[in-house]
C-alpha cells in the first residue's frame, strides 16, 4: 500500500556510486535544499504519515496537526539521515516520537483543563461514504504497541524489518506483536459463542 511507486533506481546523481530508492534520492535532494525534491518528498510521504496518525488517533484534525509537527521535526533533524540508509524506518521513527510527545502533551493539558461543555462529535464515518466502522475504531481495543505495528504493517505497508528499525526493536518482537494483534482481532470479531457460559 503506498509504496508502489518506490522502486530502486540506478546510481543516484546525488550520491555517486550509491544505489538509492526514489524516495531516498528525494531525501538527499531535500538535504541539499532542492525545492522540487523536498516538495515531491512531502507529497509522497504525507498521505502515508497522515494515515499512520489517523489510524491511531481517530481524529483527522489531530492527525493533521501531528502530520505538521512530524514534518517540522523531520525538517529539524533532516541532517541525521545518512544516504544509503532505509528512509521509511527513519521517517516513522520520527513520527513515533511525535505521536508519543503529543500524547504526553495532551495528557498534561487534560489534567489541567476542566471540561465546560460537550462538543459535538465530528462525523468521520459519514464523510467516508461507507457503512463500515473506521479502521481506527476497529483496532481501538488493541494495546497501543499492537495498534502501532498493525498500522505500519497494514496501512503504511512497511515490512517487518522496516518496522523493527522504526521501533528500535527486533523482527521477532514485531512479529509477536502482529501475531497477538491478529489473535485479539479474531477474538473480538468472532461471533459470540460463549454467551451462556458468561451468563452463568
Amino acid at each position: 500500500m503506498g509504496r508502489s511507486n518506490e522502486q530502486a533506481v540506478e546510481a543516484s546523481p546525488a550520491v555517486p556510486g550509491c544505489a538509492l530508492t526514489e524516495l531516498e534520492e528525494l531525501m538527499v535532494r531535500y538535504q541539499q535544499a532542492d525545492e522540487a525534491g523536498a516538495r515531491s518528498l512531502i507529497e509522497r510521504l504525507s498521505p502515508q504519515l497522515f494515515r499512520f496518525f489517523a489510524a491511531q488517533l481517530g481524529n483527522p484534525e489531530d492527525a493533521g496537526d501531528m502530520l505538521q509537527e512530524a514534518w517540522l521535526r523531520i525538517h529539524r533533524v533532516r541532517h541525521t539521515y545518512r544516504a544509503g540508509d532505509p528512509l521509511l524506518p527513519w521517517v516513522y521513527a520520527i513520527a513515533r516520537c511525535v505521536r508519543v510527545d503529543s500524547y504526553r502533551k495532551r495528557r498534561r493539558i487534560a489534567v489541567r483543563e476542566v471540561a465546560v461543555d460537550v462538543l459535538p462529535e465530528k462525523a468521520i464515518e459519514g464523510a467516508q461514504g461507507n457503512d463500515l466502522p473506521a479502521f481506527e475504531k476497529l483496532i481501538a481495543p488493541l494495546p497501543a504497541s499492537q495498534r502501532e505495528v498493525l498500522t505500519m504493517l497494514k496501512v503504511n505497508g512497511l515490512s517487518l524489518e522496516e518496522i523493527a528499525l522504526a521501533t528500535s526493536s527486533s523482527v521477532g518482537s514485531v512479529k509477536q506483536k502482529a501475531h497477538r494483534a491478529y489473535q485479539s482481532l479474531r477474538g473480538l470479531l468472532a461471533p459470540p459463542r460463549n454467551t451462556k457460559r458468561e451468563a452463568t
Binding site: 541539499q32 516538495r39 502530520l67 514534518w71 521535526r73 533533524v77 541532517h79 524506518p89 521513527a93
Partner: protein, 236 residues
Amino acid sequence: MTGSGMNRDIDQLLASHPLPSLRSDRLKQVETAVLGDLKPVRPLAPEGAYLAAIAGIFIAVFSLGCYLTGQHGWHALSELQKFAVFVPLAASVALLAFSVVRQMSPARKLARSSALISAVLFVALLLAMLAVFQPAQESAFVRHGMACFRTGMAFAIPAALLFALPLHRGAGLSPVLTGATAGGLAGLAGLAVLEIHCPNLNVFHIVVWHVSVTVVCVVAGLIFSSVTFRRWNANH
C-alpha cells in the same frame, strides 16, 4: 504470516475499513512550513567517525588525568581489584559510546538497549567495588572525599564539553537520553582518572566520592539537555 490463509480474513477486513484522507489545504500548510525554511544541511558523518572521536576524547582526558594527578591508586590496587574495576568500567564506556552514536540517527538498532546494558554494567561495577574493597576508618572522610570529587569533576567537566562538540548534532530526537549518556561518558572519564590517582582503598570513600562523579554527571547531563531542549523547542 500476514499472507497466510489463517489471517487472510483479517487482512481483508482491515483493508475494507476506511481511513480519512489528507486534505489538500493541510498538505499545502506542511509544504509552506517546510519549504519556507529550506537550507542545505550536511549529513551526519559515518558512525565510525563519531566512535573514533569519542574514543579519542576519552583517551585524551584519561591520559591527561593520569599524567597530571599521578598513578598512586593504580600501584595500590591488587590484581583482582584492577580487574574488578577496570573491566566493567571499560565495557561501560564502550557500550555507552556505541549507544550514544546509535542515538544520533533515528531508526538505529540497539541504541536504547546498549544504554540499558551499560547502566546494568555500571551497577555491576558498583557491586564489584563493594565486593573487592574493604571498609576502613577514616579521620577526614569528607575532606579527603571532597578533594577526590573535585579532582574527578575537574576532568569530567572538560570531557563533557568535548563530548558535546561531536554529539550535539545528533541530539535532536532524543536529547534527554543523549545528554544523560554523554554525561555518563564524561563521568566515567572522571571516575577512571580517580581510580588511577587515588590510593584510598576504603570502600565507603570509593562508592561515595568516586562513583558519585559519574552519577552527578549523568544527572547534570539529563537536566542540561532537558532544559536546553525545552528552550530550543520554545524558540522553534
